[in-house]
Each structure stands twice: as structure tokens, then as C-alpha cells.
């Protein structure tokens, strides 16, 4: 029972380790690895015996501790410069100090005045109640957009989702950029279009985007004479309409 109560308050293996260090009144810079490893593992065993879900991270740290312990048992070699070898505990200590810093930062933040706990602000419930529930565009984060998309596809089969995943963002992006450029310059050569990307992957995207646009006949590629440059333009019959929205 004692274990259960304490285990619930740990936020992870580092938290447990910090607790053991504090409990044993140990200097964090000079951790007696054998003792701590032993205690750490007995806690893990207790967790297991209580059938608590044990996150893999706890086991990873146990392995790390055992590894450090075995390295500590090896005789210390002096390097050529006469300096001592790195303390096998150094990386763990660094990690613990870093975690402790943020754990304390979290406690500090917890003590700050918090909206909807310590103070409140009013909502504008003026005459324009029609807007209730809607938010200004400028304040919507990308995450909400993704959530909206997830909502939409939630009811669709896996096949459809796969299809959407394949609809590569970078190709869409190139399509959008290419159309912007073509509208501005009216016509570009094939080489000019392909020459823009800086890296190989981009070249592939550009090409795929161009194929897609040609397939949909949004753009046309033409050649005045054999061996002349292939020119690309927005398809003639397309009523671009974009200007009205810009």
C-alpha cells in the first residue's frame, strides 16, 4: 500500500530517481550508484507486483543504472594526458539536474496567478451575440485546422485516409507556388520551372506538381518547334478568377 500511494505521484523515472536521492539525502553530484540502483529496482518490482502499468521508460532507466554500476566497478584508467576518464554518472547527473530545473519551474508556475483559478476576465457578450462560438481567423491555430480535418475524415474508411496521406503536402505546395508564379509571369519555360528548386527532393516535387497540373489541364505545356524550349502557361480557357479574390 505504501508503494502505491507514492508511485502515483511520480511523473516518470527521473522523478522517481530524484525522490530516492532526496529521501536518502544524497549529494546529486556524487550518487552512490549501487544503493540507488538497488532501491530503484525494488520500486519497479513493487510496481510490477501491484500490476501497475509500467511505462517502458522506467525499465530503460533501470538498464542505464545497471550499466553505470558495472562501469563504476571497472578500474579507473588514466588517459594519456593524465586526465581522469569521464565519470560514468556524468550524463545521468546532467539529465537529473535538467529535469529538476524544469520540475521546479513547473512548481514555480503553479504558484503564479492563474486565469480561471485566481482571476477571471469577462467575455464580450455585447450586442453581437451572433458571433458566439466563432473565433477570429487570426487567433485560430494550425492545430484547430488539423482537428477540423480529422473530424471530417473520422467517418471515412481507411482506404480514403490512405489516399489522403499520399496526397503529399509538398506537391500541393509546389502546385500553389507554381500557379502563383505562372499568373505573374504568364509563361515560363520548363527549365525555368524545374530550375527553381534548390534541392533534389524539391525537383521531384516540382515535376510531380507539374504533371498533376497538366493532367488536370490547369496548365498547358507547348513547344513552337522541335528542340525549342518547352513553355508552360496557365491553360487559356481557364477563367482564372483569382484576381477578384486577391
Amino acid at each position: 500500500m505504501d508503494y502505491r500511494i507514492k508511485l502515483e505521484i511520480f511523473e516518470g523515472p527521473l522523478d522517481l530517481l530524484l525522490y530516492l536521492i532526496r529521501k536518502n539525502e544524497i549529494d546529486i553530484y556524487d550518487i552512490p550508484i549501487s544503493l540507488i540502483t538497488e532501491q530503484y529496482i525494488s520500486y519497479i518490482d513493487a510496481m510490477k507486483s501491484l500490476n501497475l502499468d509500467l511505462a517502458g521508460e522506467y525499465l530503460v532507466l533501470a538498464a542505464t543504472l545497471l550499466h553505470i554500476k558495472s562501469r563504476m566497478l571497472l578500474p579507473v584508467h588514466e588517459t594519456e594526458g593524465g586526465e581522469e576518464e569521464d565519470d560514468p554518472r556524468a550524463e545521468l547527473v546532467r539529465q537529473l539536474l535538467e529535469y529538476r530545473t524544469f520540475k521546479e519551474a513547473a512548481l514555480e508556475m503553479e504558484r503564479m496567478k492563474l486565469l480561471d483559478r485566481d482571476f477571471f476576465t469577462r467575455k464580450d457578450t455585447g450586442d453581437d451575440r451572433a458571433d458566439a462560438g466563432e473565433r477570429p481567423v487570426r487567433e485560430i491555430g494550425v492545430f484547430e485546422l488539423v482537428e477540423a480535418f480529422q473530424r471530417v475524415i473520422a467517418g471515412m474508411g481507411d482506404m480514403h485516409i490512405m489516399e489522403m496521406e499520399r496526397n503529399d503536402m509538398s506537391v500541393s505546395q509546389r502546385i500553389s507556388e507554381m500557379l502563383d508564379l505562372l499568373r505573374e509571369k504568364k509563361t515560363l519555360t520548363f527549365e525555368e520551372l524545374l530550375g527553381m528548386p534548390r534541392e533534389r527532393r524539391q525537383l521531384v516535387y516540382t515535376f510531380l506538381a507539374l504533371l498533376e497540373l497538366m493532367k488536370m489541364r490547369v496548365v498547358r505545356a507547348f513547344q513552337r518547334a522541335p528542340y525549342e524550349a518547352i513553355r508552360v502557361c496557365v491553360a487559356a480557357e481557364v477563367d482564372v478568377g483569382g484576381d477578384a479574390q486577391e
Binding site: R122, K123, G126, E165, S176, L213
Partner: protein
């Protein structure tokens, strides 16, 4: 009791509707009605004498803060200049356009399962979506895509910064573990 006045002022301020004396009595269990009325009258009087940007007014059976009349034109300006708002329907349509562009209206409707004419028009008006061309099939249906303003509104450098579904799924899957 000085705190009573403070608490009542906070409550009136935060309440979305005019706050009635009865409601205050219900909240402040042991406080006599007389004290509540006195505190409200005192606050109303204080704001009236101060003659600033807000007043405590007795309206519709309760108390509510009201802005000064002379501020009305500026308040209208503030509210009028509010950035465009997006409904959930608009958001979903926008999401489909963003991820599937260039896309036909028909495709969006297939995904969302509803008619999107109105929301699409709204998005075009807000300049978040634009016509990028026409598909060369019978009827030459219009293809839609997102605009530069879309990127601005969502604080994206380019479309490749939109998170992929896989990335969001990763955040979701672990949820069941905690």
C-alpha cells in the same frame, strides 16, 4: 465589510447577464439582503461620481456594467473591425481545401457529406480560399486552393508547415496510455 463590496463588484463584472440581488443572496449565503443592496448602491454611486468609461447600471432586474455613452462610436469601430470569424463548417471545409488542394467542390462535398456552396463562398469572400483553375473534364469544374492570406492567418510560412495527419495521430495514440 469592505470585502463584500469587492466580491460583489467582481461578480457583477464577470456575470454574463445582469446580476440580480436574489442571485447574489444565493451566492453569499449568510449576507443580509440589506448589506448586498447597500454595497450595490455604493458601487453604482461611486462609478457615477467618478464619471469614467464604465458605469454600474441597474437593468432588467439586476446590475450590470455599462460603457459610457460617449464611447459608443469607438466601441462600434472596435467590434466592426473584428477579424473575420469562421464557423465549424467553414473550418472543416477550409481544412479539406488546405490538405487536398487543388480540389473540386464535388470532392469537398464527398468528404464532408454536405453541400458546401455557402461555406465555400464565405471562404472565397474572406480570401482564405481561391479559384486556382478548372479541371479539364466535361463541365470544366472549378478547382479550389488556399491563398497567401490563409498562410498569414494561420501563421504558416508555406503549406509544408501544415502538420501531417500522421504527426497528429502520434500525439493521439499515446493518450490511451496515460
Amino acid at each position: 465589510m469592505k470585502d463584500l463590496k469587492i466580491i460583489i463588484e467582481s461578480l457583477v463584472y464577470i456575470s454574463e447577464t445582469p446580476l440580480s440581488v436574489n442571485k447574489l443572496k444565493e451566492l453569499l449565503v449568510d449576507v443580509p439582503e440589506k448589506d448586498i443592496r447597500e454595497a450595490l448602491a455604493g458601487l453604482a454611486d461611486e462609478y457615477a461620481r467618478r464619471d469614467g468609461g464604465i458605469f454600474l447600471a441597474e437593468v432588467a432586474g439586476g446590475y450590470q456594467f455599462r460603457t459610457a455613452e460617449l464611447s459608443a462610436p469607438w466601441i462600434l469601430k472596435l467590434r466592426g473591425g473584428k477579424p473575420a470569424t469562421l464557423s465549424q463548417a467553414a473550418m472543416e471545409t477550409l481544412a479539406v481545401v488546405a490538405y487536398r488542394q487543388p480540389v473540386l467542390k464535388l470532392d469537398i462535398e464527398q468528404v464532408r457529406g454536405v453541400d458546401v456552396s455557402a461555406t465555400l463562398r464565405g471562404l472565397l469572400e474572406k480570401n482564405l480560399v481561391r479559384i486556382v483553375g478548372r479541371k479539364d473534364v466535361p463541365g470544366k469544374p472549378i478547382l479550389y486552393g488556399t491563398t497567401k492570406k490563409f498562410l498569414e492567418a494561420f501563421n504558416l510560412r508555406d503549406l509544408s508547415e501544415l502538420p501531417t495527419l500522421r504527426e497528429i495521430k502520434e500525439l493521439e495514440e499515446a493518450e490511451s496510455l496515460e
